[in-house]
Symmetry: C2
Subunit: 350 residues, 2 copies
C-alpha cells in the first residue's frame, strides 16, 4: 500500500510525540511492505510565528492531497489571556476542520487495568468501561456568527444546526453502535435549546433505520454526572460540538492517563489523527511527554487505511510497553523512560 500522510507537528510537545508515531509507522511500512510518504506542514502558534497565519493555504492544500493527517498538538499560553489577540493558534485547527469537513470527532474511552491506580475514580467505577464519543465537529456555536460591539460592552455567539449536519454524524454513530453493543445515547439540552430539540427529532427519525440499536437521551448536565458515576452504561455517545468538547475531555479522566488517549476526526474524504492531550508547553523539548496518545492515534490512522492487522500490532506494542513498565514520567514519576525511548521500543516491537 502506498499512502500520502500530511504531518502537522504543531505546538509544545506536538513535534516530539508525533516523531515517535512516524518511527512506528516507518516500522510498520518496512515490516508489512507499505510506503508512507510524509509531507510536513504548519499550523497553530508555530505557523503564526513562522508565517503570521495559523493555517497557511499551503497546509490546506497538502492536507487535501493526502490520504490522512497526523497531527501533534495546538496552543500557546501567550494567546490565552489576551482577549484582544487578533490571531489565535486555535483558529488554525478550527479552519482546518471546516476546510476538510471533518465533521465527526471520535474518541474511544478505554481503561487499562494496569493503570487503574492512576485513575481518580474507584476501581468499582472502572469496571467494564468501554465507550466511544462521537462529537459533531464542524457546526454549532464554534462556527456560528460571533460579534462584539466597538466598546466591548456586548458580545454574542450563534449556535446553529441543520438537519444534514446532524444526520451525517448520526449515521456514522449509529453504524458504530451496530458493530458494538448496539446502544446510542444522545446528549443534548432539549429542555432548553432549540438546536437540541432538532437533534432529538432527527435522531428519533433516524432510529427506525437502525432498529437493532437502542436509543436513549440524556440532558448534558445529567450526562456530566453519569460519565463519572456510572460510565459503564455507555456504548456510543453522540453529541453536538460544544457539549462534545466538554464531555469528551471529562470522560478522558476516567482512565487516569490523559497522555495515552487517541482521537480521530473524520469527514467524507480526509481524516485527521491526534492525541487528545494539549500542547503542554511546560514539558516541550524535554523528551518526557507521553507519546502513546499519538502512537495510538497512528493506530487509528492505520485502521482508516484498512490496515487493521497492522493497527492491532501497534496496539499490542503499546500494551506491551505498559505491562512491562516502560512508561513516561506522567505514568511513573520515579522509574520513567524518555519519549524517544518509548518510540524506539514500540517501533522495535513492530
Amino acid at each position: 500500500m502506498n499512502k500520502k500522510i500530511a504531518v502537522i507537528l504543531g505546538d509544545g510537545i506536538g513535534p516530539e510525540v508525533t516523531q515517535q508515531s512516524i518511527k512506528v509507522l516507518d516500522a510498520v511500512a518496512k515490516q508489512y511492505g507499505h510506503e508512507f510518504h510524509y509531507t510536513e506542514c504548519l499550523m497553530g502558534a508555530d505557523a503564526i510565528d513562522k508565517t503570521g497565519n495559523p493555517l497557511p493555504d499551503e497546509t490546506i492544500e497538502v492536507c487535501l492531497n493526502s490520504d490522512a493527517i497526523l497531527f501533534g498538538a495546538i496552543g500557546h499560553p501567550k494567546y490565552d489571556n489576551d482577549p484582544n489577540a487578533k490571531v489565535r493558534p486555535e483558529q488554525g485547527l478550527l479552519k482546518l476542520r471546516k476546510s476538510l469537513q471533518l465533521f465527526a470527532n471520535i474518541r474511544p474511552v478505554i481503561t487499562y487495568p494496569s493503570l487503574q491506580h492512576l485513575s481518580p475514580l474507584k476501581a468499582k467505577q472502572l469496571e467494564e468501561v468501554d465507550f466511544i464519543i462521537f462529537r459533531e465537529l464542524t457546526g454549532g456555536i464554534y462556527f456560528g456568527k460571533k460579534e462584539t460591539n466597538e466598546e466591548k460592552t456586548y458580545a454574542f455567539d450563534e449556535c446553529s444546526y441543520s438537519r444534514e449536519e446532524i444526520e451525517r454524524v448520526a449515521h456514522l454513530a449509529f453504524q458504530y453502535a451496530q458493530k458494538r453493543r448496539k446502544k446510542l445515547t444522545l446528549v443534548d439540552k432539549a429542555n432548553v435549546l432549540e438546536t437540541s430539540r432538532l437533534w432529538r427529532k432527527v435522531i428519533q427519525e433516524l432510529a427506525p433505520q437502525y432498529s437493532d440499536v437502542a436509543v436513549d437521551f440524556l440532558f448534558v448536565d445529567n450526562a456530566a454526572m453519569q460519565i463519572i458515576v456510572n460510565p459503564k452504561q455507555f456504548d456510543v455517545v453522540l453529541t453536538e460540538n460544544m457539549f462534545g468538547d466538554i464531555i469528551s475531555d471529562e470522560a478522558s479522566v476516567i482512565s487516569g492517563s490523559l497522555g495515552l488517549l487517541p482521537s480521530a476526526s473524520v469527514g467524507n474524504g480526509s481524516a485527521l489523527f491526534e492525541p487528545i492531550h494539549g500542547s503542554y508547553p511546560q514539558a516541550a523539548g524535554k523528551d518526557i511527554a507521553n507519546p502513546l496518545g499519538s502512537i495510538l492515534s497512528a493506530a487509528m490512522l492505520l485502521d482508516h487505511f484498512g490496515l487493521n492487522k497492522e493497527a492491532q500490532v501497534v496496539r499490542e506494542g503499546v500494551e506491551w510497553t505498559i505491562n512491562n513498565k516502560f512508561v513516561t514520567k506522567d505514568i511513573d514519576p520515579v522509574n520513567f523512560y524518555f519519549t524517544s525511548t518509548i518510540g524506539d521500543l514500540i517501533a522495535d516491537f513492530v
Copy 2:
C-alpha cells in the same frame, strides 16, 4: 423576625422533601421566636396540569411579595422526548429566574467524611475539597433568541452577554472569594467564543478592585477534567449559564450524595432556595427521597435572612443525622429511614 416565604412544592419528589424543610423552619421559628408565613404557589408540570401554564402570573406575584422562595423540584419525563411540545415545565423555572432577576446560582461543593464510601472518587481526591460555584443564571444561550424553521430542517440558539450581566454576578463571586480562600477561577471558552472573551476581559478589569483575590482562567473542557482530577485547587468558580449548568452538576458527584446538596439563586431582591436534585419521578410519593438537600437549602435561606445562628443549628442537625446513620435509602439501601422521619428528627434536634 417576621418573614414571608413563597413555597413552590413543584414536581416529583419536590413536595415531600419541601415539607420536611417547612417542619424544620417551623421548629426554628418556635425555638428562636420568629414568624414565617408560607404561601404555596404553582410551577412546572404540576402547574401545567392544574392551569395549563408552567408559571401562572399569580406565582410571580406571590414570589415578588415574599422575602424568599423555597422550591422543591421541576420536570416530568412525559415532556422530555417530545420535541414538539409547546409547553414545558422547565419554562416555568426559567421564566421565574428571569422575572425575579435571579442572576446568580450559588452551589457549595462540600464532602462529608462519613459518606466518602459513596463517592465515585478515591479518598485521596476528596481531601480538602471545599469550593463554591457561581453560575450566571439569567443570560447566555438560555435566554437568547431561539428559532427553528417551519419544516424543522434548521434551528438556532443565540448566546449573548452584556458587560452589566457579567459584572453583577462577578462582583458577588469576588466578594465571596474575599471571605474565603481568596481565589477566583473563571471558566470559559475564550479560545473559541466571543462571549467568553468578553467574560475574560470584564473579569480582568474588575480584578484590581479585589486585589487580595488571585484570579485564574480555565477553559471549560479543561475545567471538566480538573473538577475530577484535582478538585481541591478550587475556591470560588465563576462561569456563564450553560457551562455552569454542566460543571455544577458534574461537581455534585464529588460528594457521592446528590440528595444532600443545596443551592441558592439570588438577585437584587428575591432569592430562591432549592436542592440540586431533580424531580426524580420514580421515587415520588414513596417517602424515600432524601430531604437533606432541601433542608440544607432552607439553611441557606436562613443565612439569607441573616439568621446565621439558626442556619448553623440546622446544619448541625443534618450532620447529626448523618453521623448517627439516620439516612434515607439513597445513602443506605439496607438500614434506611423515611423522608418524613428524617424531617422529624432534624426538627426535634432544632
